[in-house]
């Protein structure tokens, strides 16, 4: 499924979205990917809608991990959309329903191959080359746990 064209989103909205997304994902994020994701979220009937989530974020006294955890993640009413944001950045997918079975809708090819979870896991987006012939023989360069043995 190709996402909607990159219509303009207000810079301030995009900025809030990126800030919130960075806290949720724990990653430094690309603004252009963010624009594509936000456009898609704006046109997807989420419960609650993305606009409401961004307003709640804006009203936090501090835009910190602790505040987001305490005031937003803890709120069951908000959590589903927060989860969608993470899923989107990590995999380019949105979940169709909240219940089983899991039905996913993927975004554009560009966002699929920009999915972040694969690098976090020491892998690569399925479909993109992971590297040279035989690299799967060794532990990943970007080893997930990074702690010296």
């Amino acid at each position: 499924m190709v996402g909607p064209m990159n219509e303009s989103v207000p810079d301030k909205t995009l900025d809030q979205f990126i800030k919130l997304s960075e806290i949720l994902t724990g990653c430094e994020l690309d603004v252009e990917q963010g624009r594509a994701h936000l456009v898609r979220l704006l046109s997807t009937p989420l419960v609650p809608p993305i606009q409401e989530v961004l307003k709640r974020f804006e009203r936090l006294p501090r835009h910190s991990l602790a505040e987001v955890e305490r005031k937003m993640v803890s709120d069951a009413a908000l959590r589903s959309t927060l989860c969608q944001i993470v899923l989107l950045w990590y995999t380019s997918a949105l979940r169709d329903t909240v219940s089983d079975p899991l039905v996913l809708r993927f975004g554009s090819e560009q966002t699929y191959f920009g999915g972040l979870v694969w690098h976090i896991l020491g892998a690569h987006p399925p479909g993109l080359s992971g590297g040279y012939f035989g690299h799967w023989r060794y532990r990943p360069d970007n080893e997930p746990n990074g702690t010296p043995m």
């Binding site: 499924m1 190709v2 806290i23 949720l24 994902t25 724990g26 991990l65 987001v68 955890e69 993640v73 803890s74 959590r79 589903s80 927060l82 989860c83 993470v86 899923l87 990590y90 995999t91 997918a93 979940r95 899991l102 039905v103 996913l104 809708r105 993927f106 975004g107 554009s108 090819e109 699929y112 191959f113 979870v117 694969w118 976090i120 896991l121 020491g122 892998a123 690569h124 987006p125 399925p126 479909g127 993109l128 080359s129 992971g130 590297g131 040279y132 012939f133 035989g134 690299h135 799967w136 023989r137 060794y138 532990r139 990943p140 997930p144 746990n145």
Partner: protein, 558 residues
């Protein structure tokens, strides 16, 4: 009477394409009739996969017109006319596109074992042995040189020392390419399993021979670990039938796509010279040839023969439908195994494929897999669980993913299905958009195979125990299985025309100029993936056909 062509080949999958290539090389005038269409460029199909909601084997190949005109159970869920659950379902499917089902195969190319060709002689006689299990009319030594040739044609990577003389099945040539490196996970598991035993059978992890380049070969690059062999190799390192379609057309064969064969006509002497086909535009046409080769895979080939009322004096057309029973099991290893890297499977365990136990129960292959819990929706399900239930975000979310997903492991088995007369393909009363009957399928695995499946489940449980896995998931039903994508039987080979459809040269008993290539000719299936055997048989048949064509040419000239 002059025929339009020397050879018509029905189907452009690996069997048909290889046959067409060899015959065109030998100077024959060949036309390949392909029901499906040509696929779009590879990169476009990778994009289709990336955006597909369900990343199943058909996802890169979805095309509304092709799915309507050349349907399969992939494109049309009700294509197989079979009794609904709780009756066992035949789940394996295939691809009707130029190049065929090897577009989405995994690429594994083990050979059949010596015993697989002589099951009845070696293991028969007991009351637990399936009544319909027979010997092939050829043996391993007959096919061995063709296996070597098939490995060269497809481009197979493997380790000779590991595979030479496995269960008394020697290799006369080294593999064309050195093996696909085993994954880190394979090596970790091998360090803990090799040499241990289950019911006196020793585990030994072996690199699986594969039609996947480990070096530059045949103008195609080495594998770069894109990891989506199923459903498509983005770079062409994995062999697919389009390779030989290209070679066949370069050698002079014609390829007519979007031409669905819907009838064959035999003359009074039993020769089949006329092949009827309908184009996607609805135009009904006929093409004639001196020899006809059916290569439409093991559902469409018998269907065509049944529609045409040909080749069936034995009553065996469509009968003895087989597959391998596939079962996946899951566990969480105590250490990171790093799935989602490399081909989806690089090693396996062959130890349970053969032995005296086959008097009573089926043998099976085991695969070590590199795709973690993808089939249980990893990592998507983990992300959702961590955020929704565990309320983790940021670094804690990443840590939660890192703690689990790299340790996720899938093991799988592929169990021999014994032939059973009652497992069959017939003609349904429902028809597709071109008026061609759907296949009606009846399939229940014999108890012999269920016993093998049960044992395979116990072996996989043992393997998980030995590597100290937790969260072991063997499923809830010991008899549950998936299709392996290995559709076999239905036009079986045999010496007796009363019991089989084709002779040992793949020539129909009832029609001396009609040949069948592909997995439909297998009388029994053993436990290996069938494609290498398909390719070997096709190469062997092409030689026979070229010889037969040559003799007829010589007679015609004299």
């Amino acid at each position: 009477m002059t025929q339009d062509f020397d050879i018509v080949v029905v189907g452009s999958g690996v069997a048909g394409a290889i046959t067409a290539y060899r015959l065109a090389q030998a100077g024959a005038r060949v036309v390949i009739l392909e029901a499906g269409s040509r696929n779009p460029p590879r990169a476009q199909m990778v994009g289709a996969y990336a955006t597909a909601a369900i990343k199943n084997p058909h996802s890169p190949y979805v095309n509304a017109e092709a799915d309507k005109m050349a349907p399969t159970s992939d494109s049309s869920p009700d294509y197989y006319d079979q009794p609904p659950p709780p009756h066992t379902q035949y789940k394996s499917n295939y691809e009707r596109r130029t190049g065929g089902s090897t577009w989405h195969w995994l690429g594994h190319t083990p050979r059949m074992l010596r015993s697989d060709f002589k099951m009845k002689s070696l293991y028969g006689g007991g009351r637990d042995f399936p009544a319909d299990m027979v010997d092939w009319p050829i043996d391993y030594d007959d096919l061995e040189p063709w296996y070597c040739e098939a490995e060269r044609e497809l481009g197979v990577a493997g380790d000779h020392a590991q595979w030479n003389n496995l269960f008394n099945s020697p290799r006369s040539q080294p593999f064309p390419m050195s093996m696909i490196w085993p994954s880190y996970s394979d090596q970790w598991i091998a360090a803990r399993l090799d040499g241990k035993k289950f019911e006196k059978i020793e585990y030994r992890v072996r690199s699986t021979p594969s039609a996947r380049n480990s070096q530059l070969y045949d103008g195609r690059p080495p594998c770069a670990g894109n990891s989506i062999c199923v459903p498509i190799c983005p770079i062409g390192a994995k062999y697919d039938g389009s390779v030989h379609v290209g070679k066949a057309t370069a050698a002079g064969a014609l390829l007519w796509e979007r031409c669905v064969v819907n009838g064959l006509t035999a003359g009074k002497d039993g020769s089949v010279h006329a092949v009827q086909f309908i184009t996607w535009g609805g135009e009904q046409r006929t093409v004639t040839a001196r020899l006809v080769v059916l290569a439409a895979h093991a559902i469409e080939t018998p269907k065509l023969l049944l529609m045409s009322k040909l080749a069936n004096k034995s009553g065996a057309v469509g009968r003895y439908l087989m597959d391998h029973l596939s079962k996946s099991t899951f566990g969480l290893a105590p250490e990171n195994l790093y799935p989602f890297r490399g081909p989806p499977s690089t090693s396996g365990i062959e130890s349970f494929r053969d032995g005296d136990f086959r008097r009573k129960q089926a043998g099976f292959r085991l695969s070590l897999n590199n795709d973690g819990w993808l089939r249980k929706n990893a990592p998507y399900a983990e992300i959702i669980d961590l955020v929704m239930k565990q309320k983790k975000i940021g670094a804690a979310l990443q840590a939660g993913l890192i703690d689990r997903v790299p340790r996720q492991l899938r093991l799988s088995c592929s169990v021999e299905v014994a032939p059973d007369f009652n497992n069959r393909v017939e003609l349904s009363t429902t028809r597709d958009a071109l008026g061609i009957p759907h296949p009606k399928i009846t399939f229940t695995p014999p108890d012999y195979s269920y016993r093998g499946l049960s044992r395979a489940n116990r072996v996989m449980a043992d393997m998980f125990q030995r590597i100290q896995a937790t969260e072991i998931d063997l499923g809830t039903d010991d008899k549950a299985f998936d299709g392996a994508g290995h559709i076999m039987g239905t036009c079986r080979m045999g010496a007796d025309p009363k019991q089989s459809v084709v002779d040992e040269e793949l020539r129909c008993h009832d029609h001396k100029n009609l040949f069948i290539v592909g997995s439909s000719v297998f009388p029994t299936v053993g436990s290996p993936n069938p494609t290498l055997t398909v390719a070997a048989l096709a190469l062997r048949a092409a030689k026979t056909i070229a010889g037969q064509l040559g003799r007829r040419s010589a007679r015609a000239r004299s």
